[in-house]
């Protein structure tokens, strides 16, 4: 019984111990009785986390750019092909929205739209190369001035991510060919679509940044 006395004495110094409150499942967690995971499947959460990392990469490059140029405006003309690239990627995002809707309904036409997205990505890359060539023709190279340096760095790093997106599309294609399990396919396409939206968003961001610094 000595132990009880000790326990009660300890009691007064401890906060009241009470049974856990019922989990309310506040939307972040998946349900009331299974609060040990998120409302998102792992592949989706992991994709978002990875995009977080990539976001910091582009933010770091952008802030380096802003700091480096101080207030100096862009001294070269942004080639008009830039707008073509932008339209292509905006179209790509619309295609992707369609793809995701069809995917959710398990409608087989999502495959075609994935193909369209791939074609648009290739078109984007071609337009990018033309943009770079136009700049070079103007005499604007990576070393010309800080604005051009960062323009090339940001667009090349972005283009590399477009290539990565193409690789993801190819992987989806392989799953489609192989007639992989629906969950596998769904996961692959879902990740790819999210990633592509991100790549499109980064492009818009880059264009906006250079618009802003040309003011």
């Amino acid at each position: 019984m000595g132990t009880v006395m000790v326990a009660t004495r300890e009691r007064s110094r401890l906060r009241r111990i009470s049974p856990p409150p019922p989990d309310r499942g506040n939307g972040w967690w998946s349900s009331d009785d299974d609060p040990q995971s998120l409302a998102l499947p792992s592949w989706q959460f992991g994709t978002w986390l990875g995009l977080g990392t990539l976001t910091v990469l582009f933010v770091a490059l952008t802030s380096a750019y802003v700091v480096r140029v101080g207030g100096d405006p862009v001294s070269f003309a942004l080639p008009p092909t830039l707008w073509v690239s932008t339209l292509i990627l905006v179209a790509n995002s619309l295609v992707l929205i369609r793809t995701r809707r069809l995917l959710a309904k398990k409608h087989p036409h999502f495959v075609r739209w994935l193909g369209v997205s791939g074609a648009l990505a290739l078109a984007f890359l071609v337009t990018q190369v033309i943009t770079w060539k136009l700049l070079a023709a103007q005499g604007v190279f990576v070393t010309t001035n800080p604005h051009s340096s960062f323009f090339y760095v940001l667009t090349v790093v972005h283009a590399l991510h477009v290539v990565g997106g193409l690789a993801a599309l190819v992987r989806c294609g392989i799953h489609i060919r192989r007639r992989s399990r629906w969950t596998t396919l769904h996961r692959a396409v879902g990740m790819t679509v999210t990633y592509w939206h991100f790549v499109d968003a980064v492009w818009l961001w880059i264009v906006l940044v250079f618009l802003w610094t040309s003011l």
């Binding site: 300890e10 110094r13 401890l14 906060r15």
Partner: protein, 270 residues
């Protein structure tokens, strides 16, 4: 549980001995800063002592408590640990105490920082410094009393210190391998680098500042005594970083003027 007692005793003993040695060597200033030679340095030293006092008390207290707990609560089969999970009032008061100590340190520190980083007084004597791999060069005005403009872009074999050819005040400027300053006024230093990062460090004055290519960095201080003081480089600048040693002489205005008059201006071939 004899092993437990042996480990506990050894641990507690070591912690106490270590704490005692640490406290004693510091209180005794057995190995200490070089002799103080500037007004700013005196204030830095004061802040250092305050910080040392606060951190010293914590260091000793934590180690004494740790040693005590190790010994007092060493494991024995007949004992049982207490089931204590937390104590919020304690946590809050501990955090508050720490916060108060920090506010004191931050308050003192930021006030001093603002002072040190302020503009030098109007009567400050200005010296400009070129840092390069692996030496210091000190730039003084010539007979016209005006410092000429220098820039890395003008550096050439004929113009090793980058004097601006369009600046009439530059022609008679003096470049010395030693730094001399007159005692009795604040000294302002403007720092430039030719090549890589360096750092102009004055241990006796408790001051240092990076020398950054592409920028001018500045610092100022008021010497409290005449003397000869070494200037080590304090930012890795290559294989000669450790022998990039400058020498600062603080001397009477008369001695300084005499020294300056003996320095010959650099001749620039036009």
């Amino acid at each position: 549980m004899k092993l437990s007692s042996r480990q506990a005793f050894g641990y507690a003993a070591f912690l106490l001995i270590f704490t005692a040695i640490a406290a004693w060597t510091i209180a005794n200033k057995t190995w200490w800063f070089p002799p103080l030679a500037s007004v700013q340095g005196a204030e830095i030293d004061n802040l250092f002592m305050l910080t040392l006092l606060i951190t010293g008390i914590v260091f000793i207290a934590v180690h004494v408590v740790l040693a005590y707990f190790i010994w007092r609560y060493r494991g024995r089969p007949d004992r049982k640990a207490a089931y204590i999970t937390h104590n919020t009032p304690f946590e809050l008061s501990a955090a508050s105490t720490v916060a108060i100590a920090l506010v004191i340190l931050v308050g003192g520190g930021t006030t001093l920082w603002t002072k040190i980083q302020s503009q030098p007084p109007a009567d400050a004597f200005t010296v400009e410094v070129w840092a390069e791999q692996f030496r210091w060069t000190f730039h003084y005005p010539g007979a016209d009393g005006r410092m000429g403009n220098v820039d890395v872009r003008f550096i050439s074999d004929e113009n090793p210190y980058g004097l601006d050819p369009n600046d009439p005040y530059a022609k008679d400027d003096v470049f010395a391998t030693e730094m001399h300053v007159p005692y009795g006024k604040p000294i302002a230093v403007i720092l430039r680098s030719k090549d890589v990062l360096h750092n102009f460090f004055l241990p006796h004055f408790r001051l240092k500042m990076d020398v950054v290519p592409g920028m001018k960095t500045r610092m100022w201080f008021t010497p409290t005594q005449a003397g000869v003081f070494e200037i080590p480089c304090a930012e890795l600048c290559g294989v000669g970083h450790y022998i990039m040693r400058g020498v600062l002489t603080v001397e009477s205005p008369e001695q300084f003027n005499e020294w300056l008059s003996q320095q010959t201006p650099v001749e620039m071939s036009q």
